[in-house]
């Protein structure tokens, strides 16, 4: 379980995230909604240790993450699949995935199990395993990014706008895969522009605006909430 308490963070001494409280329960799919610039990416980057928080704390399964180096956070079981994917574009797909298992490198058997598992989840990656990751289509690159994050054997997967820039049909495929990952028992913290599709697969949701949590509740409550319907669902 991930507990974010009073988290503030930002760039160059200007906070864009103001005292945010968010909880992602073990094994559940928690969605974070919000317009561009509402602080979703900043929150995720702070949780996974790329940014230092200016206040507040992040706790994961009882361990305080703030201050741990990025590899310590990955070892603790938290994987972050970032906005913009950040793949190793010139390396073959399979090498990207194996590097995803970097923190589990001492357990070769587990890494190969995980590799077989992600190929099962995304069979197209198996077909393209020798192609440089940068030559794949946008949707396939997103699959590589998700698969690479799963290779670290996480108990919580943070997904930052996996559908960004993808065609609607591909978005649906990616979100189906996310739902499948969650059914397999991995907790997911998902930021998504496509609010309706995201809330359908989620258990809980938060709405962020200007760096603050303005609304939270179960996914069904949020789907029925008039404010959410007006602002994010366009009905």
């Amino acid at each position: 379980m991930l507990t974010v308490r009073g988290l503030s963070a930002g760039y160059d001494a200007v906070d864009v995230l103001h005292a945010v409280d968010v909880t992602a329960r073990a094994g559940e799919l928690t969605v974070v909604l919000g317009a561009n610039g509402s602080g979703k990416t900043t929150m995720f980057r702070t949780i996974s240790g790329i940014l230092r928080p200016s206040a507040g704390s992040v706790e994961f399964d009882g361990t305080r993450l703030s201050g741990l180096p990025a590899d310590g956070i990955v070892k603790a079981g938290l994987a972050h699949c970032p906005e913009g994917r950040h793949l190793f574009a010139k390396m073959p797909v399979e090498k990207n995935l194996l590097l995803g298992g970097y923190v589990r490198r001492r357990n070769r058997r587990r890494v190969h199990e995980l590799l077989a598992h992600v190929y099962e989840l995304f069979p197209v990656l198996h077909d393209k395993r020798h192609h440089p990751a940068g030559t794949l289509s946008g949707g396939q690159q997103q699959m590589v990014a998700i698969a690479r994050a799963l290779m670290s054997d996480p108990s919580l997967l943070i997904l930052d706008e996996p559908s960004m820039g993808l065609a609607p049909l591909v978005t649906a495929q990616v979100l189906d895969a996310v739902a499948q990952i969650n059914r397999d028992g991995i907790g997911v913290l998902l930021a998504e522009q496509n609010a309706q599709a995201a809330l359908r697969i989620a258990h809980h949701g938060y709405v962020l605006a200007e760096g603050r949590v303005v609304l939270s509740g179960t996914a069904t409550d949020l789907l029925d909430d008039p404010e959410v319907r007006e602002a994010y669902l366009g009905v």
Binding site: P69, H86, F88
Partner: protein, 288 residues
């Protein structure tokens, strides 16, 4: 024809040395995005430490180079920790100034220990062999063979082993690397250690042909920069092809034009490459 074959072998031997020295520089550039101006002095220290083990301690030649490579790897890691790591968030000019400082420091240390005079390290490998009518010294053959073996091992390390792959991963995407748990700080220590060890192997191989002096790294430094600009900054194949190309051009020009022209060819190459193809032969994205 005999002269040409002779020069060809000289060029290949020199090329092997240039490659080994240039690869370290290109790796450091790829990982830290800084030109390590102190690289030539690591090469110089490598030569002196090899000399120390071979002449002063009296261990066999190959063991002396190996021991010196280990010592220099440690010095490389220390250089990264003490000088470059504290500057990791500073602007790039700071790195360059620090590198020049390190360069003067290492030269002063070498001068304090071994003096400013030239020193000679006799080749423990003597004799020569006649190939196609040309006399090729065993030392040059050893240089070429060792360079090929070391380059092979290095390529295997970087492409196949998980620790070597982290070097390429950081080069290609720093954020992506942190997110899979690769520590940038560990990779930059590894890169500096490796770069210093490779420069030492280069220096140890060529030392019996040339003389040792605290300033011997200066000329090499300029040439390896020419090589990595020619090959493309951060590119491994670029450093290898660039190293052999520059060495052959240098040797052939010295023989068929004049020695002075041979020394100048590296700079002609830089000017030409920057004018015609500024990204180098093996262009690799160097945006940012």
């Amino acid at each position: 024809m005999t002269l040409f074959i002779q020069q060809l072998f000289d060029g290949l031997a020199l090329g092997g040395v240039y490659c080994l020295a240039a690869i370290g520089l290109t790796l450091i550039f790829g990982v830290l995005r800084i030109p390590n101006l102190a690289h030539g002095t690591l090469y110089m220290l490598g030569a002196y430490v090899t000399y120390f083990f071979l002449v002063t301690v009296g261990v066999p030649y190959v063991a002396a180079i190996g021991l010196a490579a280990v010592v220099l790897a440690v010095i490389g890691v220390l250089l990264e920790r003490v000088v470059f790591h504290p500057l990791r968030n500073a602007p790039h000019t700071h790195h360059m100034i620090a590198a020049v400082g390190a360069m003067f420091f290492f030269q002063a240390v070498a001068q304090a220990i071994w003096g400013a005079d030239f020193r000679r390290m006799d080749s423990p490998i003597s004799g020569s062999v006649t190939i196609l009518g040309a006399q090729i010294s065993w030392q040059r053959i050893v240089i070429v063979v060792t360079a090929v073996i070391v380059l092979g091992l290095l390529t295997w390390f970087i492409k196949r082993s998980i620790h070597g792959q982290t070097i390429e991963a950081i080069e290609q995407d720093r954020t992506g690397s942190s997110l899979v748990g690769i520590s940038p700080s560990r990779v930059s220590m590894l890169t500096f250690g490796l770069a210093a060890a490779l420069a030492t192997v280069a220096a140890g191989l060529v030392a019996p042909i040339n003389l040792l002096a605290p300033t011997m790294g200066d000329a090499l430094s300029l040439k390896v920069f020419a090589i990595i600009i020619l090959g493309g900054l951060g590119s491994l194949p670029g450093a290898i092809v660039g190293g052999f190309t520059l060495a052959l051009a240098e040797v052939m020009t010295s023989t068929y034009v004049s020695a002075a022209a041979g020394e100048g060819i590296a700079f002609a190459v830089i000017v030409l490459v920057l004018a015609i193809r500024p990204t180098g032969l093996f262009a690799r994205a160097v945006q940012r």
